[in-house]
């Protein structure tokens, strides 16, 4: 079983790794469009209770991402992926939460969404804890 402690540990490691990566890429002077040399706005870890497996995800454009069917269905119940709705400032499918949950669903096809667990959401730059947004609360309504 993934514990809250394991989730927080995973996201804390992710923040450190992101910071190292941003610095390393900038120091290597690529100036190449597709090398990520900026912090993601948010990061979160998602675990699957039944297995104890934990994955982390970061905010990113959903434009070229094929979400797994259960996540896709839930996101599209709010509005089309890649669009905004008046209840939330974030683009549907751009948050760290669906990106992290997508990895769980990809690894454990048919997993029960009620058995997902999330860490707190963090801004990597400052490591500040942030609130889940309205889109995420509605997408993962059983667990957030």
């Amino acid at each position: 079983m993934a514990t809250q402690r394991a989730l927080e540990h995973c996201v804390s490691d992710a923040i450190q790794e992101i910071k190292r990566q941003v610095r390393r890429i900038r120091q290597s002077h690529p100036n190449v469009k597709h090398r990520i040399q900026d912090y993601p706005a948010m990061v979160v870890a998602c675990g699957y209770k039944r297995s104890g497996a934990v994955f982390w995800g970061q905010s990113a454009s959903p434009v070229n991402l094929q979400y797994e069917q259960p996540i896709k269905k839930r996101l599209e119940a709010l509005a089309p992926i890649g669009e905004k709705r008046k209840e939330c400032n974030n683009v549907i499918g751009a948050c760290a939460e669906p990106h992290a949950a997508n990895q769980v669903v990809k690894t454990f096809p048919g997993c029960n969404m009620k058995e997902l667990q999330f860490s707190s959401a963090y801004r990597p730059r400052t490591a500040q804890r942030k609130k889940y947004c309205q889109n995420c609360k509605e997408t993962f309504y059983e667990v957030l």
Partner: protein, 140 residues
């Protein structure tokens, strides 16, 4: 070339500008960047500034550490202030409010002087008052 809108909204981009004769660093915190910010020049600035040695003494805004809370890592702002930039963070908006504002808060500044590498300053856009709103922590 501009950063793609979806990239801007999902990343916390370090960007740089000149304003009233001083050099500024700003953390976008998932917000929109002004049209004047060129992604290629901005990436190049990020890379060049990574190599700069920061020798400036810095001053944190009054009450800013309390504002961010205990344990918050403000080192990325401090690094740029040590290099001579007034370092800003984008003010977050409430859920449901429009996210297009360019309202920034001062986090930390050099005690004296400003970044003065002419070659790099020329790569930064010069912003006017009507483009960006800069507030001090006590003035929100």
């Amino acid at each position: 070339m501009r950063y793609r809108r979806d990239y801007q909204e999902t990343h916390d981009i370090d960007w740089f500008f000149r304003y009233k004769g001083k050099a500024y660093h700003a953390a976008s915190n998932g917000g929109r960047l002004p049209d004047a910010v060129d992604s290629k020049k901005n990436r190049l600035l990020q890379e060049k500034l990574e190599d700069e040695i920061g020798g400036f003494e810095v001053i944190y805004e009054e009450g800013i550490r309390e504002f961010y809370g205990q344990g918050a890592d403000l080192s990325s702002f401090e690094e740029y202030a040590k290099k001579g930039f007034i370092s800003l963070d984008r003010c977050e908006v409430e859920e449901g409010e429009k996210n297009d504002g360019l309202k920034y808060r001062v986090v930390v500044s050099p005690a004296e002087g400003s970044f003065n590498n002419e070659e790099m300053l020329k790569m930064m856009p010069e912003l006017k008052e009507e483009i960006i709103e800069i507030v001090n922590n006590g003035n929100q």
